[in-house]
């Protein structure tokens, strides 16, 4: 058993290293897309899969609407929030499947052989969480500029020191700018840390006592995966909303 913070490379395509997390990410994406194709024909009286999807969509949309207080804005933000939620949720829950840290390809020389597992949650890869954070934070800036205009949005960060709160306003602006970078970093490490820690925990428990002992931790990870997905998407939503609000000072 070897724990590495970086995702393990399974194989390379040309110059591109294909890691287990990337592969899982692609598999989850394809799985979601296949599930989507089942929604081709929508029936007025929902049944089965459509019913489940409708329930989730409606709950999520109502949540988004309650935060934005604006139906049009809710419709604009919903796709990003929902995609983050669904994708992060499923990739978090991947670690619950059997095979975590045990099924993989052997790696290393004789005497020191380690397993490179196939199964590793996409969220347990800094590359993914950083990419998602960057996408989110960039979307927040774009939403702010689209709602307020470039000049007005820029005034949130660059404040003239010769007006009412004088130098304080300028400093607050700089702090706002730094907090945008802080958002990215906290997004990245919150999700990564939680999921990666969960995976390590599960792997360690599995290696200590394979029977029964991992069970409570599996339940715990179900919650952690759900909560992290909710936290990420809700924070993204709140940031999107606050970016579209006009400057107060």
């Amino acid at each position: 058993m070897e724990i590495s913070i970086a995702a393990e490379k399974l194989f390379s395509i040309g110059n591109f290293p294909v890691t287990n997390t990337f592969m899982i990410g692609v598999i989850v994406s394809v799985f979601i897309m296949i599930a989507t194709s089942k929604l081709r024909k929508l029936e007025t009286i929902p049944r089965g899969f459509q019913n489940a999807v409708e329930t989730i969509f409606e709950a999520l949309f109502n949540l988004v609407e309650s935060v934005t207080q604006n139906k049009e804005q809710a419709r604009r933000f919903f796709p990003l929030i929902a995609t983050i939620f669904i994708f992060v949720l499923l990739s978090n829950w991947i670690e619950l499947l059997p095979g975590l840290g045990t099924v993989g390809i052997l790696h290393g020389e004789a005497g020191h052989v380690t397993i490179i597992p196939f199964l590793r949650s996409t969220s347990a890869d800094i590359n993914f969480t950083l990419a998602l954070s960057l996408i989110t934070v960039i979307s927040v800036q774009v939403a702010g500029i689209a709602a307020l205009g470039f000049a007005k949005y820029g005034k949130k960060f660059i404040v003239s020191p010769f007006h009412k709160p004088y130098v304080i306003g300028t400093f607050v602006g700089i702090l706002e700018l730094v907090s945008e970078i802080g958002k990215t970093i906290s997004f990245t490490f919150r999700l990564f840390g939680n999921v990666f820690a969960g995976e390590v925990l599960l792997t360690v428990m599995l290696h200590l006592v394979p029977l029964f002992l991992p069970l409570p931790f599996l339940f715990l990870e179900v919650f952690v995966g759900l909560i992290q997905a909710i936290v990420f998407s809700m924070l993204a939503l709140v940031f999107l909303k606050t970016a579209t609000l006009p400057v107060e000072h």
Binding site: S4, I5, A6, A7, N15, F16, P17, T19, T21, F22, G25, V26, S29, I32, M33, T36, S37, L39, L42, T44, V53, E54, F57, E58, F61, R75, F78, P79, L80, A82, T83, I86, F87, T122, D125, I126, N127, F128, L130, A131, L132, L134, I135
Partner: protein, 159 residues
């Protein structure tokens, strides 16, 4: 930059993950969110419309009930009026007819009385003339026959 390496940050993988997510985002937006939200909105609109329709129908129904009551009471009043008018006219006609009959009976009676009187007079006249002729005839007979003196005397005395 060593820390990035230690954390496993690789710009190629970063980009690949971002592209993967963005592709998923656009596919879902095109094929899942938009149709689904449109569908849900349309359905909730339909349900709202249905509720509104039902409420409107209810309102109309109660309105109709009120109107129905009004119409019914109006009709009842009218019927009562008509019946009363009919009764009155029937009474009036009865009275008229009675009066007419009475007058006709009276006139018929008068007629009959007149006729009877006339007849009486005519009969009397006839009787009178007959009696007269009879008397004259008998007188003649008596006069023509040879009356004895006593008989003559008797007649003369009697006369």
């Amino acid at each position: 930059m060593e820390i990035l390496e230690k954390l496993g940050i690789d710009w190629k993988l970063l980009l690949a993950q971002a592209v993967n997510f963005i592709v998923l985002f656009f596919v879902l937006r095109r094929y899942a969110y938009k149709p689904m939200l449109d569908f849900l909105e349309k359905r909730s609109e339909r349900i709202e419309q249905g509720i509104k329709d039902a409420e409107a129908a209810k309102g109309k129904l109660s309105e109709m009930e009120v109107k129905e009551k009004e119409v019914l009471s109006a009709a009842r009043n009218e019927a009562r009026d008509i019946v009363a008018a009919a009764e009155e006219s029937a009474k009036r006609r009865d009275a008229e007819r009675f009066a007419e009959t009475e007058s006709r009976v009276k006139s018929a009676l008068e007629d009959a009385e007149r006729k009877i009187a006339e007849e009486k007079r005519r009969i009397m006249d006839e009787a009178k003339s007959e009696i007269a002729s009879l008397v004259s005839l008998s007188v003649e007979k008596v006069l023509q026959e040879k009356i004895n003196a006593t008989a003559d005397k008797k007649i003369i005395i009697e006369q």
